[in-house]
Symmetry: C2
Subunit: 352 residues, 2 copies
DNA sequence: CTGTTAGCGCCTTCAC
DNA sequence: GTGAAGGCGCTAACAG
């Protein structure tokens, strides 16, 4: 015995019952520890009698295998890391749920890392991952860990299975689960044009973001398909947040000639933008039509309800988790999975 | 050597570089493994020269301690479990962020369990916790794990530090971080009454929920303070979701005599309710005033913007994480922490 | 201040 | 079908 051992971490008199170990079960069932282990992992290789005794002993002792020991031995953690840029963003919560439920069914736990734009956090989680605390990772942040600034010996290369979700990672040879952002943005743009709108503004995502690049392309595709000119003055900078929508709205309100429709590349921005328009006495859709992207919960109950692009968020999460599990269990996975979006027509957009 | 070892988990030719172990570092730095360990854990107990050599060797090898081995030895996981009833609920995301950032600073990781109303999931996570995969847990779901249905040998008692957040757990002798729901609800009720409203409806949370019980008490307190009678016909059932608000709205719309104000115990319900009122041609606040609770992001940009009770969500998360960390590190923590709420007056409520 | 040593609990080969 | 034994990588006692 080395340390004092157990107990007293929580001062309120925690009961110093030592958790049952495999030895305890073995003794009680009158078998070796190897048999206990096998009874759990490969029951068919253990005689029915022994198995029954083991199971009974497990029930009696309340034995739960020690995961640290198991991991140390088997090199498997049954944990998956989910890396996302902003946990507080509504858009991710339902995706997370899709991921979590799929992982759970397969016996994996989920560790979340909220990068929050901090490079040091990213470095931390890269180390975390390299240290083998997780078997795999789902990346929602649009790039690989640290992009290994080379030099410096071996920068702890990450060799576990990875999957990219939503924000595709161009160069990476990993499964990518996403929607067709370009096609969806084009679809919305054509929808607006088909209603007679000719001056259509576009509120962008963050510069250099892959979603933004694709949606912007789609916007231009849509203009072209509708025979409308591209006017840089109608491009407003944004970053998918409510506040960005508010700012874009202020810009619009201040103009003498306004667009007749605004395509916001997130519902948050659309809602923030509408708010600003209302405050200035403008009506949606009578004075100006507003469209969103994502179809978050609030899109349907906004006033007016929001015309937008529906993303199957839960299914995206599930698909990403499934792809990762496939990899984790030695199966292969398609390199690219694209889920369908849908144009949802509500009340915030009207014919000109 | 037993197994084949390393490599080939990910089929795409993962490089079979074995991660550096403490031994490798020790050899390179020409010290014992114990010294390496100490250089990391208690640098002040190692000579500066040795420390420098160790650090250099670590940099050269890219060494990252194996957490499974560390956990096995030290019985510490540096992981915290966060148990919540519904990950997809907007209300939790900012709280999670508060928790995560505080844990992160203290070197702890966060594992999320979305209970999703499933008892089997709860049992799973109870076992998970009992198995020692986490050092502590933050409970947002209003009750202790499984409430240990006794009998059956030792049902793997959970003895790690726990903290309850938002939903207090009455009998439990653990730190509870919350707001004063009763006082806040009373405050809002009195605010409505002070504007001349005498028929105030109340849209509830789920029956038996502790938040609901407290807020309902507060509502009655407020009525009493304002000298208004309590009318059971003005209590509408809800569960904090948008849909519940929609349903409550339908109920209201169908009535011949309506309340002049509605106090919804969540912003989601308030937004859903307003939507239904609009669809029926009613105006807010001209025809009917609507108040919410929580002050989620969308409350400020709803149309009309929502009068509500502000909860410091991020701070709640931070406070819970801090309390847990105190416990984890052997310090004590106050048994009850109550953060201040604020009445936020916007446009959805008007004088009668 | 530093090295030696002994496990943490489990899984898995090897021998029977 | 089963048991004995070694070791996954680390840290904490104990000597020095």
């Amino acid at each position: 015995m080395d340390e004092a051992g157990q107990g007293d971490r929580a001062e309120q008199g925690a009961i110093p019952i030592r958790a049952a170990r495999i030895q305890d079960v073995a003794k009680l069932a009158d078998v070796s520890t190897a048999t206990v282990s096998r009874a759990l992992a490969t029951p068919e290789r253990v005689s029915p009698e022994a198995r029954a005794r083991v199971l009974e002993a497990i029930a009696k002792t309340g034995y739960v295998p020690n995961p640290a020991a198991r991991t140390l031995r088997s090199q498997k953690t049954y944990m998956v890391l989910v890396v996302l840029p902003d946990l507080a963003n509504t858009f991710f919560s339902k995706i997370l749920r899709g991921i979590e439920e799929t992982l759970f069914e397969a016996g994996y736990g989920m560790i979340i890392s909220d990068l929050d734009g901090s490079p040091e956090k990213e470095a931390h989680f890269a180390a975390f991952t390299a240290a083998g605390r997780v078997d795999g990772a789902v990346l929602l942040n649009g790039h690989l860990f640290g992009q290994s600034r080379e030099g410096e010996g071996q920068p702890a290369r990450i060799t576990i299975p990875l999957v990219a979700l939503c924000e595709a990672i161009p160069g990476a040879d990993i499964p990518q689960i996403e929607i067709d952002n370009r096609a969806a943005a084009s679809r919305m743009t054509r929808h607006l044009a088909s209603l007679g709108h000719r001056r259509i503004a576009y509120v962008s995502g963050p510069a250099n973001n892959i979603l933004e690049r694709e949606r912007f392309q789609g916007f231009k595709d849509g203009l072209e398909a509708a025979g409308l000119p591209y006017d840089p003055a109608l491009i407003l900078p944004g970053d998918y947040t409510i506040e960005a929508g508010v700012r874009a709205g202020q810009d619009l309100v201040a103009r003498s000639t306004r667009p007749t429709a605004v395509f916001c590349t997130s519902d948050e921005m659309a809602i923030g933008l509408m708010r600003t328009l209302f405050s200035a006495g403008l009506r949606v859709p009578e004075d100006i039509s507003v469209a969103g992207f994502d179809d978050i919960e609030f899109a349907a109950v906004a006033e007016p309800s929001l015309t937008t692009i529906h993303q199957p968020r839960r299914e995206l999460g599930q698909a990403a988790a499934s792809a990762l599990i496939d990899l984790l269990q030695g199966r292969s996975s398609p390199k690219r999975i694209r889920l369908e979006t849908e144009l949802v027509i509500r009340d915030s957009v009207a014919p000109l």
